[in-house]
Structure formats: structure tokens, C-alpha cells
Amino acid sequence: MTTVPAHGSPLWRRALLTREAATIALLVVVWSVATASVRGFDGPLTITYLILDITPVLLVALPMTAIVVTGEIDLSVASVVGLSSVLFGLLHQAGVPLPAAVAGAAVAGALCGVVNGVLVAYLGLPSLAVTIGTLALFRGLAVGLLGTAAVTDFPRNWTQAARATLGGTPFPSVTVLLVAAVAVFAVLLHGTAFGRNVFDMGRSKEAARFSGVATRRTLLVLFVLSGFVSALAGVYYTLRYGSARGDNATGLELQVIAAVLLGGVSIFGGRGAVHGVVAGVLMIGVLSSALRLEGVTVNLINIVIGVLLVLSVVSPRVVAAIRARRPARPPSTSLPAASPSVQ
């Protein structure tokens, strides 16, 4: 928001003109178009299934937002979802009570986060490379432990609890968990010193370190959070679909990253907000749901998500470039922001 002078426009106007507001406006447009023109979209089941579908994406997107804000990335999340799903299933199969199995999966997820965090924060390795490696490793462990078999004999009351709605409303009970998680991450990121450190690190890790931010510990905490939340998403995924499989949630990381970037988080770090990401996740959910209702198969959904992802990062650049050419304005910001980099 650096381009808006502090004294320029009133607060309400600045709030309306943020990148997040753009995403939310877009979401409203897409939702309206879907309601008006897609048969069945206004039915009572739409909200239920929409929330059930986006739950794992939204859960994982929350810690991912914080990680991307620091300028790092975690590509291994979907594999952690798969691995925790398998561990949850195996623990259940071995006769461990389900609450303990949930705890076991969560601990395993946090440990995955420790592996990523130590390699990135303490060995200083690039998170992109590290998490491509752990993406393969964690998925390999998941598939190795269970082969292509599946654990499906979860108690009906548990699998139904994962899908049940709150008495009389279309909202599934998991909505409570989602709202709580969003609130926790919104406060953590936007209302605490920890959150300020995360943003400082995204603007400049060096500067953050010199001003006393424990950058290594912060990064480690974020990766552990990411692993932990991914594991919870894995447990949910297992119960919702009633099966623990090694290939569960393959490719989920792409949807998560697409949603985070669509939600206005800068891939270069330093900028982003939780409410934008929630809108980004909802956008992908609504689009998928509407397209499926139209009888469009999975392939077109992927094209749309892919194109949206590219558009969401390209369009600000294009608009900025056009504005930079307008003679009335001083040439925008600094140097052509380095050349493209991997991260």
C-alpha cells in the first residue's frame, strides 16, 4: 500500500482500494453470476458442500499465508496431509482410540514442520528446494507405509461428524473450526508482535534481524505451524472421504498456493492479509462448484485455476507498467524489481 500517500484519501477509500478488496469484490461478482445463471447453485446443499470442499485448502492456506509473507514457501503441505492421513488410518487400524490417533497424526505433522523449519531456518537452505525434497519424502513415506491400500473402516459416527451440519443450518459443523482457525491466524498475523515480525522479515530479512527479530525461531515456528495444521487437515480429509490413503490430497499445494496468491499475498513477501486469502480460497471453491454443476469436468476447472493464478500475479504488473508510462505521473517506484527469480 506504499503507493497511497498517508494523507491522501480517507480511510474508507483506502480500505476499498486494497488488493484484498479487489479479490472480495471479484468473489461477490462470481458468486452472483453463479447464483443467477448456474442451475442448482442456489440450492441448500451448495453452501454445505462448498465449505466441506474448501476446508482442507483453507486450513492449510492460513499458515501458508504467513510463510509466503516472510518470503519463503512450503510446497510439502499436501504431502504432510497425505502422510498424516495414513498415520491416522494406521493408528486406528492398530486399535489406538481415535482421539489419540488424531494427536499422533498432529505430532507427526508438527515433526514434518520441524524438518522443514530446521533445514530452512537453521541451515539457511532455500525453502523452495527443501520443500520440493520433503514433498517427495513425506509423500514417499505415506505411500510407502500404506502402499496403494486404504484404511476405510472408520466408525460411522466419526465420518458423519465430519460432514454433519449445525442443526437446521446449511453450515457443516466444521465451520466452527474454520472460523476459529481464521480468527487465530488473523490475530496472530495482524495483531501481535509476532505478526509484525513476520511482515518485517518479508520486507527484509537482514533488516529484521538487525532490529532484533529472532528470524530463525520465527521461521521455525511458522513451518511447525504449517505441518501441524496440515496434519489436522489430513485428519479431516480422511474422515470426510472415509478413507486413509497414501495418495490423499495429492496436488493440494497447488490449490493452496493459487488461493493465497489470488488472495493478494505477494510472492516476494512482505504483503498480504488473512481476509484476502479467505476470499481467494472461497473463489476457487465457488468456481469449482459452479463449473461442476454446469457439468464441466475437472479439466476446465484446472485451466480456470491456472489462468486465474497467472492473471492474479501478472495483472498488477501490467497495470503498473501502463501507469508508469503515463506522462502525468512520476515513473513508478524504483528499479525494475530485480529480474524474475525463483521465489
Partner: protein, 336 residues
């Protein structure tokens, strides 16, 4: 001892050594792995495809970019190959290969244009096109597929034929490797790719044609993915809309294991190709030695992580050695 040390510092040699150990170990347990006609052929043939992809990927990675869409590009071009043959069985093979390579180059060009001109991180762009290109194949192919009977025998024979005991596809891979290595190592443009990767800002200030070079790298990578698509069609004889799904992981893994730094500026295509052969050969060796192949991906993951940790440790050691050398030299200078 010094020779061993030097060899270990050369990543290509180290990876090749591991490769030899894997092959030797597997052959001891199961002689047919190397010593039968089929074993020898598969040893060379199976990695060829991934090696070609890895060479293309390495060209992009040295510029501090990455192309995650290669698996989808391969799928599209493999399906194009099959469709062309199905529509016109009499087309010369050369023409079809050229068409597929050109299609791959165009897809790579799209990636390159967005990366170079919109200055968007390659990771994001190619993640998007990974989705989008795969969606294109799926939309185009629907639930159709290309079967072996749709393609001419002359073409399918390329997938298995051998010249002096070396499969044709392996020869193709070696030729690609040789040309790319020569280009990167000796040409001015090739050296500039490394310069761009090691310090993008400096490259801009120095006046290098950064955009054009990055565009070239992506086009080359796309074209090679297209070529790999042709190889896929020839080798497997069946192309469905899912061809090549998930290959990007193996390819990026191969490049990293082969010593190409993910942050650009260093590494060779020879290393990347050797890394590809190593990963594929480990995949093939595991079931032969009795490890359930479900563990393959875990092994790949461990290899990637080991490779980057090793890189860091070696780099640190080198930096310390340089610092020590400076500290040793400086007192003398003072004394003088």
C-alpha cells in the same frame, strides 16, 4: 587421496559414482538387471526421457528460474504426436517430431514471455501453466487415447530399436546433452545465462539482454519437453491425457541432485542428466532388489535433501578455506 577428493568435489563425478554403485549392487543381487539384453537396453532407455527433460530444466534453472510445467507440456506434445499420426499415418516421422518440438517451444515461449516481460516469478507462472496446459490436454483428449495401433510401426520401432546395442532414444538423449552442454559452456549466450542466474541485478546493469536470454531458456526447455513427448509416445505406445503427470518433481529433483543450484548461476547439464539417470535407475532398482516400489518417492526426497545440504556444507567449507587463505596472507602483507 587428492584425486578422490577432487572427484568428489566434481558433482558430476560424484553422482556418476553413486550411479555405478547402484547398478553394480543391483546387478550382484539380480544379474539380469545389467547382463541380460533387455536389462542393458532398459538401463539406457528408461532414463533417456527424463534426462532430456532434465537438460531443458537445467538451462532454465541456471538463470535462477524454474519450469514446473514440463510434465504437462510433455503430455500435450505426446498427445499431439499421436493425433497427427492417427490423422495422417503417412506423415514423415521427421515432420511429426518437428511439429511436437515446435508445439513445446510455443508453450515454453508463453512461460518465458510472462516470466521475462511481466516479471512474475517463474515458480508461480509455471505452476499456473502446469494446471492450464494439463487442462488443455484433458479438454482436447477427453476420454480418448492414442493406442499403439494408431501409430506407424516405423515410429514405434524408434522406441525400441538399437544401433550397435545402444537404443535410439538414448542416442537422442546424448545428442541433446552434447549440444546443450556445448552451447552453455562455450557460447557467449550460454555464459550469459549463468551470469543472469548468479546475479540478475548485475546482469541488468551490465547490459546483458536478460529478457531475451530468459525467453531463450524457456523456449529451449519447452522444446525439449516437446521432444520428450515424442519419445514418450514412441516408448510407451499409448498416450492418454494423463501422460507425464507429476514428472516435474522427478525432473527438478534430478537437476538439484545433479548439482545445479536452485538459485541459479552454477551447475552443468551433464550433472542434471546424470542426476536424471540416477533417480530413474534407483526407481528401477528398488523393486528388483525387493524393496516395495512404494518407497521410491521417499528415496528421491532423501536424495534431493541430501544434495542441497551437501551443497551448502561444501560451499561453507570453501568459503572458510578462502577466508583462512586471506587471513594467512594478510599478516605477511602487513609484515612486508
Amino acid at each position: 587421496m587428492r584425486a578422490v577428493g577432487a572427484a568428489l568435489r566434481s558433482r558430476e563425478a560424484a553422482v556418476a559414482l553413486v550411479l555405478v554403485l547402484v547398478v553394480a549392487g543391483t546387478t550382484v543381487l539380480q544379474p539380469g538387471f545389467l547382463l541380460s539384453a533387455g536389462g542393458w537396453r532398459d538401463l539406457l532407455l528408461t532414463p533417456s526421457l527424463v534426462a532430456v527433460l532434465a537438460v531443458g530444466q537445467a538451462i532454465v534453472v541456471v538463470t535462477r528460474n524454474v519450469d514446473l510445467s514440463v510434465g504437462s507440456v510433455l503430455g500435450l506434445c505426446a498427445y499431439l504426436t499421436g493425433t497427427l499420426f492417427a490423422a495422417a499415418p503417412d506423415l514423415p516421422v521427421v515432420l511429426v517430431v518437428a511439429a511436437a518440438v515446435a508445439a513445446g517451444a510455443v508453450l515454453g515461449l508463453v512461460n518465458g514471455v510472462v516470466v521475462a516481460f511481466a516479471r512474475v516469478p517463474a515458480l508461480v507462472v509455471t505452476l499456473g501453466t502446469l494446471y492450464a496446459y494439463r487442462g488443455l490436454v484433458l479438454t482436447w483428449a477427453g476420454s480418448d487415447r492414442i493406442d499403439a495401433s494408431d501409430m506407424p510401426h516405423a515410429f514405434l520401432d524408434l522406441g525400441v530399436r538399437q544401433v550397435l546395442g545402444v537404443p535410439v532414444l538414448a542416442i537422442v538423449a546424448v545428442l541433446v546433452l552434447a549440444v546443450a552442454a556445448h552451447y552453455l559452456h562455450t557460447s557467449r549466450a550460454g555464459r550469459q545465462l549463468y551470469a543472469i542466474g548468479s546475479d540478475p541485478d548485475a546482469a541488468v546493469l551490465y547490459g546483458l539482454p536478460v529478457r531475451r536470454r530468459i525467453l531463450t531458456a524457456f523456449v529451449a526447455c519447452g522444446a525439449l519437453a516437446g521432444l520428450a513427448g515424442v519419445m514418450f509416445a514412441a516408448r510407451y505406445g499409448t498416450v492418454s491425457s494423463g501422460a507425464g503427470t507429476g514428472l516435474e518433481l522427478t525432473v527438478v529433483g534430478a537437476v538439484v541432485v545433479g548439482g545445479v543450484a536452485i538459485f541459479g548461476g552454477s551447475g552443468t547439464v551433464l550433472g542434471a542428466a546424470t542426476g536424471a539417470v540416477l533417480l530413474v535407475t534407483i526407481n528401477r532398482a528398488l523393486p528388483v532388489v525387493g524393496v516395495p516400489d512404494f518407497w521410491q518417492r521417499a528415496v528421491v526426497g532423501v536424495l534431493i535433501i541430501t544434495a542441497i545440504v551437501l551443497d551448502r556444507v561444501l560451499a561453507d567449507r570453501r568459503a572458510r578455506a578462502l577466508a583462512r587463505a586471506r587471513d594467512v596472507r594478510n599478516p605477511q602483507e602487513v609484515a612486508r
